[in-house]
Symmetry: C2
């Protein structure tokens, strides 16, 4: 990834968000920069050019912006993974731990492609809690998790731990917190 | 739009969501259907082929999935319009009325392109409250609102009222509630 230096330049870093001591890696500045956004989508397509992917699961809500163009380009289904209570149909849900308390995500049962290889997409992976919950949802719905793609990875948070043999690809990694 | 009958067939209709008496038009079934999703994006690009659009503002969060491929295709900036508290940088915010109470949305001030023509994108327009608030945000940030695109319009809710001379385009309209 010879151009990753420019991706780093396109990512806005905001100190003390959402709380003091946390450096927030903001991808809205990537989206507002057409060259940077194009670079991400092209690199994502390139990263899976030799992997069979049958569908894409997009994690609410920044995952949607990267997953949608990828799904369109490959001509495969796009599945939205949303916070509890936002999907109107019959869902499968999973809880996951937050720093304080827990959260719950869900997917429409009818949208999970049985026996198909699904790529999970989000903008950033830190501890990997949301991604693990998404993986659990998809498996319970009968799909196979082919991999995880996130634009940014915070490597010091050991996100690859607990994801078993699911391959995780990122375009850029930072030490994190 | 000779194929709009097939778009109707691709939209899942769920009665009594989010509350009794409301028929919910669900676009997750469109996204899970590659032909239907492709149809929407192609129709959207076609709809603005003779209009100058300099940037796209995507309304959280279903608007993200339609706005992102459009922005990429045109090679123009994508601006995320989010619920209050989710954007880490300096923002401009606007409140709007809900059936009970009010909500607030915001945009990064730095991402609003001054003097440029911005298209507002969402999946569905009903009363138009969120869209009007988005339009106010963009104008306060120094941009011009070139138009509004939503896949679905609920025409009985008079969403064109109060939007002044901002042109609204949809791919399909239903009577609504």
């Amino acid at each position: 990834m010879t151009s990753s230096f420019s991706l780093d330049g396109a990512i806005r870093k905001i100190p003390d968000f959402p709380k003091k001591g946390i450096l927030f890696y903001d991808i809205t500045s990537v989206l507002a920069n057409p060259d940077a956004f194009r670079f991400c989508i092209d690199a994502m397509i390139q990263a899976y050019s030799n992997t069979r992917i049958d569908a894409v699961a997009a994690v609410e809500s920044r995952g949607f912006v990267f997953a949608a163009p990828f799904a369109l380009k490959l001509g495969i289904p796009l599945i939205l993974v949303r916070k509890k209570g936002k999907l109107p149909g019959k869902t499968i849900s999973a809880k996951y731990a937050l720093e304080y308390g827990e959260a719950e995500i869900e997917v429409h049962e009818a949208d999970v492609p049985k026996g198909k290889r699904v790529l999970i997409v989000d903008d950033l992976i830190a501890t990997g809690g949301t991604i693990r919950a998404t993986s659990e949802l998809l498996k319970r719905g009968g799909a196979e998790v082919a991999g995880v793609f996130c634009v940014i990875g915070l490597s010091s948070l050991n996100f690859r731990k607990d994801l078993g043999d699911i391959p995780v690809k990122t375009l850029i990694e930072y030490e994190g917190e």
